[in-house]
């Protein structure tokens, strides 16, 4: 509860009309950002606690959960270089969610297994978009592709998918058409 309250408090502070509309001074923007980031970091611990509780009694604790907050610009150090990854999705909707997961990766061929660990699901591997590639970053990108698959998550529940990199292959599994038309 204490950990959740840090985010709740930051969100409460950010209900001020200046935070809602963006009419605050730049220094205040930085302060709101710091408070919200602290809150999000704390809530990640809570997610870990919840998954630990969901594991069978007497069994192992849930593996350490890692988070990527920059997936919208195809940045994630966790997924970028890994060959064996578990992706857990929690669905806050009160109905089943069908969600296309996009993960930045450096390989070009992957197998994705459903939550039973046996059944494979279709995936695409696409290069990250040229617009994303040109976003200035403090460090170089290690992931130049994105693996995409459709996840199905039950209402107010979670699913785990397994993403495994296949042996290195330069044959991309998509049809590429490249044409630059100067206008």
């Amino acid at each position: 509860k204490e950990q959740l309250n840090i985010l709740a408090s930051a969100l409460g502070t950010a209900q001020h009309h200046d935070a809602i509309t963006g009419t605050e001074k730049q220094a205040v923007v930085f302060d709101y950002e710091e408070r919200l980031a602290n809150g999000v970091n704390q809530v990640q611990n809570v997610v870990q606690d919840v998954y630990n509780k969901l594991m069978p009694k007497g069994g192992a604790a849930a593996p350490e959960q890692l988070f990527c907050t920059q997936l919208n610009i195809s940045l994630c150090s966790v997924t970028a270089n890994l060959t064996n990854l578990q992706v857990t999705l929690y669905n806050p909707l009160a109905r089943e969610a069908k969600y296309y997961v996009r993960l930045p990766v450096s390989g070009t061929k992957y197998t994705v297994y459903q939550s039973d660990g046996k059944t494979t699901v279709q995936n695409d591997v696409l290069p990250i978009s040229p617009g994303t590639a040109q976003i200035p970053l403090p460090t170089n990108r290690t992931a130049h592709f994105e693996v995409v698959f459709l996840a199905s998550v039950p209402a107010l529940g979670f699913s785990t998918y397994f993403v495994r990199r296949q042996s290195t292959s330069n044959v991309l599994r998509f049809q590429r058409e490249y044409y630059r038309t100067q206008v």
């Binding site: 509309t21 963006g22 009419t23 605050e24 001074k25 730049q26 593996p63 959960q65 890692l66 988070f67 990527c68 997936l71 994630c76 966790v78 890994l82 064996n84 990854l85 578990q86 992706v87 857990t88 999705l89 929690y90 669905n91 806050p92 909707l93 969610a97 069908k98 969600y99 296309y100 997961v101 297994y113 039973d116 660990g117 046996k118 279709q122 695409d124 591997v125 696409l126 290069p127 978009s129 617009g131 994303t132 040109q134 976003i135 200035p136 995409v148 698959f149 459709l150 785990t160 397994f162 599994r173 998509f174 590429r176 058409e177 490249y178 044409y179 630059r180 038309t181 100067q182 206008v183």
Partner: protein, 288 residues
């Protein structure tokens, strides 16, 4: 390839030879409309005290210098990627504006991922960047619809207020309304509704027949004098202007069917699954 289109099970988007969007088709109903989309920017009003026009465009006030925005023409079409689950088309508009059109196999919408920034201000002109979707021949009769925080849908009529006699002095800004969840236009004669869902609150309007216009990013150089005391010129820690990225979701259907599409889609956008990762070095079967 001469096939300049991307599609899924429910929707198709066609592009012209030069890479501009030309039409959108609902593959379930066969409904097809001519669609174009362009980026523009309004020059922010800097204010002029001597002429009594002191009010500048800023954090509180949107006040363009001119009523017509400057168009940002497409620089080049950077190709199409076709996967089994998703098809994507890439547009580079300027060095600081790019866009991805994306259609997933199983989704009824077109996803438009726009990236804007850093907005250049070396010419000392503050810029307010918009995107404008346009359906040619569409008759929405100066009327469009926006939501109130995802709840009540409100009818907006150009240069009109339902409870008082409006004397419009700001032809652009005076018709901008908050778009929290979506904005839509309807052609009752053709029974077509075009809806744009947003991933964050934005300003939006429909200034011309068949238009849906949304404000994406603002970078201004003058304080609007309403209390903040700073120009709306947000920068990163290195002092560069911000790069902003967001997504629009385009839906096309009949008027009676549209709410069946945009309501669940809005829920999906607002409450996306929370993703976390683990790297236990065990096989999937062992993990289970």
């Amino acid at each position: 390839s001469t096939d300049n289109s991307i599609k899924g099970k429910y929707v198709r988007l066609d592009f012209s030879a030069s890479g501009e969007v030309s039409s959108m088709t609902n593959l379930k109903t066969g409904l097809k409309v001519p669609l174009s989309q362009n980026f523009f920017y309004y020059e922010g009003m800097t204010g002029n005290n001597t002429k009594g026009e002191f009010q500048a465009s800023g954090a509180y006030i949107f006040r363009p210098q001119k009523n017509e925005p400057t168009k940002l023409s497409l620089k080049f079409f950077a190709g199409i990627q076709r996967g089994v689950l998703v098809q994507e088309a890439y547009q580079q508009v300027t060095n600081w504006v790019s866009q991805v059109y994306r259609i997933y196999e199983d989704k009824p919408y077109v996803e438009v991922e726009w990236t804007v920034g850093p907005v250049p201000v070396a010419d000392h002109i503050g810029k307010e960047v918009i995107t404008r979707y346009h359906l040619d021949g569409f008759e929405n009769k100066k009327t469009f619809y926006t939501d109130a925080n995802g709840r009540e849908i409100l009818e907006r009529v150009l240069n009109y207020r339902p409870t008082w006699q409006l004397k419009q002095t700001e032809p652009v800004a005076g018709n901008y309304y908050p778009v929290n969840s979506f904005i839509s236009i309807k052609d009752t004669k053709k029974n077509v509704q075009f809806t744009v869902l947003v991933d964050r609150a934005q300003g939006g309007t429909s200034l011309n027949e068949g238009d849906v216009e949304l404000m994406l990013h603002r970078r201004l150089l003058v304080d609007d004098g309403k209390g903040v005391g700073e120009a709306l010129d947000e920068r990163d820690i290195d002092g560069k202007g911000l790069v902003t990225r967001g997504t629009h979701y385009l839906l096309l259907d009949s008027i009676e069917n549209s709410s069946r599409l945009y309501r669940p889609t809005a829920q999906d956008i607002f409450l996306t699954p929370a993703i976390s990762f683990s790297t236990a070095e065990v096989s999937p079967v062992q993990y289970v």
